[in-house]
Symmetry: C3
Subunit: 460 residues, 3 copies
């Protein structure tokens, strides 16, 4: 049966109505945080701040920009590895992230920055909105090439909502620490996306198998995404940590974990290929697992060598996942995971949650100092009597709450996305920009193959 | 008639003589700003600055680097969409910007940082020099592929000069606020470039029509430029704002406007194409209009929802411009605008000027606070009695001054560029790197088409 | 004779063993610097630091991230210009840098941050580790396409070790200033790499001559590397300078030198080509020489016009080097320098050392101020009586020490890399990703030529 992928009325309608809704909601609820408000000059005097440099903007803006690059260029280009889905990878990621950050500012605002009827936003809110959208970009990786832009916007609407709820449960109710989001971003985002793609299972997807491979230059474009994610991950994991030593420490731990991860990825990529050759898919993805896996622990006293160990293991786990687990998941569990987010985000995210729980449980006054321990885990107010071991327990609980939210949420949203009129492509048109984009006809793009069926790329 | 595009003596001569002139002028005039001078340690004690972190370097350097990336990678790669003009796009943009920032440091220095015969430069001057060059990169977009490097250097020399004069009139004489340059950078730069390309009108340009399209990967290269411009625009609009809340606010407003702009661009790109498919040209350009249009207002209390509204409208205006206005401008007004700067910079820049004027006129002590209002609009010294409504009037005047300077200046400079011996390409060689660059002959580049005329890309 | 390039056991073994060694050594030696340690809160009170913003993290982290981008994206993509070695360029650079930074943290730590048996690391150590690896990336440029990943890891192990020793001699024993590394990074790295490639001389390399050229899009990928190196070089040269004016000044001087360098590069690229056309190889490389050449002097009072002069000369020297010196070095001295590091790093680095020595020798209290002079050259403790002219002498000595270390070290390491079982490719397989990577077969990559020998790219 031929699918109707005509977007002309559906896509504009969703974009315009939803953006109009954003304007109304922002008008009613969103205002500037005091540090971004013109009254700040007076604020400052009252707070006896010695200098403008005390404005949170200067503590977090550079990290914000790095995170911003990770979301739009990092995730966007990482997904351009497909030979003829580059426009969709970068373009749809751009679209869903641009909508997602607005909706996230509202959802997270209601839960975390709501004061006398207003959401007060500053640079930290912008970072958290990017984080929230990051989990959607992760889920997008699982269904890449198989959905319409309308489906992606609906996915974003619901996933951002559930993300905010889950985050609220973890951060506010369980008082869990998760600055780099191993649980809230990666575990949640990945298992959510995997559930969605399971629901959207396409038995005859092999009809577009020839388009699931990369071409030489599409692999180089993907490396742009990989490297920006890899380089800026220290900013990602430290962006919303406490000022001072916590941000400093989070960056160092992440830097170490990522470095170590690259070596084990290369080792196993070569080891698991009979000719001993390296596979770009592993280099593009598994090298990042180290950053995912210290998302919770990086701001704690994980220590540089602890980080190296985490990176060491995750490079192995992730690469092995690509080689052995992924085919199994597809054939047995019918999980068609285009980008292999199970290897890059799901498993390392889960490990990251455990690493965080253990590190928290092992915290002592000797290692952190009296004040250090209190500020690191915010053992104040209602939580002033919580001990590290108890904290560890709550951290562990956070993993499973995230997992449950992801599976339940993914199942529901997946079902919603199955609705017939959302314009998803036919099996033979998956991984094909031509469906939703005006594509220049040139011998350079994969489209060429349609003109000359004798030239088919080997799919990796 | 065959054109002489032989650059061997003309280009080196211009580059070497002008660079030598820069050295002499820098030697006579340019010195370090006190905060970059080795005497600063003493300065500091006299000023009772508590810490090195008070150095302006730490307030502005991260934003400077983002702006720097926008000028060289952002504009450079945005223009690589042409199938066989990638070297010219990135390379000539690199050349003119590298010369332009030096000349801008001098011109802007004489007008704004001239003290007892010396121009004292610090990080803020570097940002302003990049801004000035940004207006040249914009103008370059209109004549992309149709001029020689010598013509581009001459264009840069004159445009930077006129930019500095116009900026002086607006900032110093009219006391206008324009931190993100909706007027000084975008309105001026775009109308200047459009006038120049009008003067350089080529009636037979259709002879190179087949090269005006993109190829699959050239569109992906262009997206690198688009995304860096989009992501770093908050830094652009906040880079030279007052320390503290103003920089913070400018970044938030720009972030919001850009996010909203993406959705309306996607909506109209699909809506205005009969098959409902998205057009890369719109995604690459119109998504940025939101940043242009808050260039003046971002540092004011435009508020997040105000920014969303501006972005919403500009995404529509810009996309509609690409579809309907551009063909009209070319056929009726003989304005051949290669990159469509009229849609991305001219109209949004003009709107941005108006948004700024209205926002200024609407400013109240209630919204800004007494001190806040004074510092936001610098109502001090000669201007201590100026009211917001009067300020709004001057802001509006600034738009038209910029417009007048652009049209008059563009006409003159366009006439200068028509001089026969500057080495511009023949109509059939436009949009062709082969004219000024050694190009590797490979089936990958558009050049391939010359070997096999049966393969012609569809021009968008 | 056929070479055995089978990596399946050798590469994994080296990666896993060495990474395991890193974990052990980090476990024994590496801890957090006080500013990254959870005890900092108490530290702070004792030091009466008024604010968290005093943490070194906020002085150096933005520069660190820029340097990080230069090492991984800058060097990585700069080397993708080869038509079919993009995976190796980006991928092997990624691998060696990821290992190198870990080993550098240890080596530099033992020499510079070793306190009561522990190496205490903070953001400045991360920057220095990146710097150290930068010298390995430079050396990699000379042997690009001719070595196996195992050889590259061995190269990294030894070069990082020698780098740390040389750096110790210069910085700690000779008390030389070299914040941007003209001597320690560029002179050392380049001459080291040139010596290695001389030892590994391949008389029959012309067998892979057809692969040494670029293709259209590989040149555009390389420009990504070029531009990020060019834009972020001011961060590179200022990253580890003293807080305040020194960092500020270093950025300005580098910005000026680089701008000037672009114009003379363009001038000579056109001048030295009979058709007057620009050569991408020059634009990609020689434009960066200005940054290399102010690596030592940038933080001194070199002044903006002094920087312009340095950039002016180095653009010429570097471009002339590519046109005349490189062929000579290959034919007469048997130095096969794939990326032309002699032109971009060796000569400009050497010049940079001299510029630094002269600038130091010329320093006066009048120009620096009493305090300024002392802090600029750290004339304290054992060195409180050292005069600028003496400092200049030591600076000059530093150049030759670096040179000697590079030549001797390169000779030894080159000999080690000649060992037969390291898996280097045969002459006809050099510059070919297919040897060590799974490469998608598509008409887009240079590989295409193998299927259709009638299509050969012109090698530049």
């Amino acid at each position: 049966m031929v699918k109707n992928t005509y977007m002309r009325w559906r896509l504009p309608l969703v974009c315009l109505l939803w953006e109009a809704a954003m304007i109304v909601l922002f008008g009613v609820f969103v205002r500037f945080d005091p540090e971004a408000d013109a009254h700040w000059k007076e604020e400052q005097r009252q707070k006896n701040l010695t200098s403008d440099i005390e404005n949170d903007f200067y503590f977090r803006y550079p990290s914000f920009q790095d995170v911003h690059v990770m979301i739009f260029v990092g995730f966007g280009f990482l997904m351009t590895f497909l030979q003829r889905y580059g426009f969709g990878a970068v373009g749809f990621n751009f679209l869903l992230a641009a909508f997602g950050i607005q909706w996230a500012l509202l959802m997270q605002g209601w839960f975390h920055s709501f004061e006398n009827g207003k959401i007060l936003i500053g640079v930290e809110n912008l970072i958290n909105a990017d984080f929230c959208v990051g989990s959607v970009c992760i889920a997008f990786g699982a269904i890449l090439g198989k959905t319409s832009p309308v489906q992606l916007l609906i996915l974003t609407l619901f996933q951002v909502t559930l993300f905010a709820v889950n985050e609220y449960i973890l951060i506010s109710l369980l008082h869990v620490k998760d600055a780099g989001g191993s649980m809230t971003i990666h575990t949640f985002g990945a298992y959510f996306g995997l559930t969605v793609t399971r629901i959207l299972y396409r038995p005859n997807l092999e009809q577009s198998k020839d388009k699931q491979g990369s071409v030489y230059h599409s692999d180089l474009f993907a490396m742009i995404g990989t490297l920006y994610l890899w380089m800026y991950w220290p900013s990602f994991n430290s962006a919303v940590s406490n000022h001072g030593d916590a941000q400093h420490r989070a960056a160092i731990n992440t830097y170490c974990s990522l470095a170590s991860c690259v070596l084990t990825t290369v080792a196993f990529s070569s080891l698991l290929q009979k000719k001993g050759k390296l596979d770009m898919v592993h280099i593009q993805n598994a090298t990042l697992a180290g950053g995912v896996a210290v998302g919770t622990g990086a701001e704690m006293m994980l220590t540089p060598y602890g980080s190296l160990i985490v990176g060491f293991l995750c490079g192995i786990v992730s690469t092995v996942g690509f080689v052995y687990l992924m085919p199994f998941l597809e054939s047995k569990l019918h999980i068609q995971d285009t980008c292999g987010i199970h290897n890059l985000h799901a498993m390392p995210g889960f490990i990251g949650g455990i690493v965080g729980a253990v590190t928290a449980a092992a915290a002592t006054e000797e290692v952190y100092g009296k004040e250090g321990l209190i500020s690191a885990f915010d053992f104040t107010g209602d939580y002033k009597d919580r001990t590290p071991s108890v904290q560890g327990g709550f951290q562990a609980a956070g993993i499973f709450v995230s997992l449950a939210m992801a599976l339940a949420g993914g199942a529901i949203v997946g079902a919603i996305l199955k609705m017939p009129f959302l314009g998803d492509p036919a099996d033979e048109n998956c991984f094909e920009d031509d469906v939703y984009w005006e594509v220049p006809e040139d011998e350079e793009s994969g489209l060429y193959h349609m003109h000359d069926p004798t030239l088919k790329p080997v799919t990796s």
